[in-house]
Amino acid sequence: MSELTTPLGSAGGDARPRAPARGRGQERGGGTRGVTGTSRAWGVAFVAPQTLLFLAFFLVPVVIAFALAFMEVRPTRMTWVGLDNFQRVLNDQLFGRALVNTTVFTAVVVVFWLGKALLVAYLLDPMNATLQTFFKSAFYLPAVTSSVIISLIWLWIFNPTFGLLNAFVGLFGVEPVAWLGNTRTALPSLMAMQVIMGGGSSIVLLSAALARIPRDLYEVALIDGAKRPTIFAKVILPLIRPTLLYLVVTGTINTFQVFEAVYVMTQGGPQFATTTVVYRIYQEAFQRFNLGVASAQAIVLFLITLVLAAVQFRLLGQNVEY
């Protein structure tokens, strides 16, 4: 029995039991003791560029952001202000509004987007390889398109005067709607766009996870009299739980950072109905030059996503063996 510890397994539908994985050193027969000084140097050489880039563009800025959160940052000076920035963040009604908007957006988008990906992957599973490849490619296409371009296209679709959506609903006698101008429809419109355009990579991962489930399990369940919905709920879902966990966690983290669509399509409006946390951080940092407050907001966002990820791990994070 192999243990499915990562969703990034074989996508080729190989359901045969596998021998326990061996480390690279073991495969070469010498364990880590066999690594010579030269090969160690080569290893370091290969890892170093990525590590340096990671340090320069990720780790160091994150550490600096933590420090800036406790300072008033001006172009010519930095002053220690303790927790003042966090107090400002907590007293900022618009940041509170942004948190609510972002939470609603994330909850809806992740659920629907994952549901869509699961449904599509499930429907693709019985198809032959050629058809699967075609549909996976089709669903994956938006993932390789710039999110700004996608937002601009949807801006036209939602246009109240000449947009496609109003033209379509007009066929049923519905009056034109200012989809992005109405506080009731703006956030749902962005959510719908995100759900429709997203999920390409999730479909690929879920297809791989489904392909790894041994077919014997389906047959046994069918012989036992289980119906398809039961098989889906009792056999498939538990077995792809690690993949789902991965997608829920990364999807939540990514969706919580929604920015491009808001920046391009609504600028946080109407009446702050689509203001999200990252858009608020952007405004604070680059429109008001309050890098300290923006850093404090970023840390609040970091803590929220950390807690969410921990909760999701606790709820979904169980090892699966088959």
Partner: protein
Amino acid sequence: MRRSPLHVLVALLALSPVAAAQPQIELTWWINPWRIVTPDMPEGASPTGEEYARYMSERFMELHPNVTVRYELVPNAGFGEKVTTAIFAGNPPDVLKDLDWNPDWAREGLLEPIDTYLTDEDREDFLPYALAKGLVDGQHYIWPWNNSNNGMGSTLLLNTALFEEAGVEIPALPDRAWTIDEFLAAAEKLTMDRDGDGTTDVYAITFAARDVENMLSWLMRFGAKLMNDEGTEFVLNSEEGVRALQFIVDLVYEHGYAPRGGEALDVYGTIENLHNGRAAIGYGGIYEIGRIDRYLKEGRMANPIDVVIAPFPHDPAVGPIAYETSGGFLVFKQQDDYKREMAMEFARFLTNTENIQMLESLLYITARRSANAQLDFANVADYTEDVSTEVQVYQSAIDHGVPFFGPSDLDISAAIEHFTAAMEAALSRSKTPQQALDDFVREANRAVFGR
């Protein structure tokens, strides 16, 4: 004229003692794209926005061979972010077009004051309000360049064909001034259902909540002000302000002279409605006539439209009001005295009487009186055989210009998002005009003044 190698050698020899006496320096200059036609462009060529920066850099380097000007064309979108990032990184350009002018930069000591470089002639020649725009704590920081903007908030564009179709007379010259009542009478006729199917085919005008300058201009029609005269408080929820906003909402919902959905539009939505003939009246000045020509050439507009300029309609009790604005160049703090001199020299070069006239090809009016006296705007492009009438109307409109956004040394950017929210609320009727403006004033005073 071709130069022989001998000429070049003689010129180099002549300049060499000067060059040797002066250090080699490099100036960085950031500017957004200005589609100015330069003298070295082939006739009929359409500028992309880079020609002006290249041309001026080269001309300045010819005059000062020891100076290398490195220009960078920064797109309008993201201009402010790029400048902010550069400032915080301690690496701003030496000279900057003031697209996103922030008076706090001067207070932070990031800019060089220009007062000691301004001559008496400069002070006389620059339009007072253009010079005053860069006044912070008694010192000037902006070399004035363009007077007015693209006309947003100042003037309207009237589609002559639609006016004719509706049987509406264009307001009379010389200034095409019209009253609110005259505008209303025209708007009624300009709102047309051509095929009688119950759907409006042409609206008189468009309102866009995210179009700050034009919406604010409408709100000032009955005498409202954004801030009090001292610049210490937002007061747009005055009786006059509420009346103006109610007037706008009524034009949309009661009269149907403007399309619904303006809460989701920005200024480009208004431009689009004018260009595609869905609105008989659009916004902007003579620059916007150039936009129509450019869009036609680029295939972004299918059919040409003929437009003329008129001021916003006025309430006789208040009089005409237009948006008064200008722009120019900033010089960032310099450690080296000579580099400071040359950065100032470059900014002066860009804004001197001769070079500032290059704005003419954009149909912009300059910030220098002496230059404006020489502009005739004749044949600056193939779409403007004679725009002198439109220039005259535009100039007479901005003669009534007032600053819309309070004192120039006050950063009110934090209030703008609340203004947009108020316009969105009013245009979607989720709040009454009174509620929308009350909320705006409360939030703006809190955001800008902390109360």
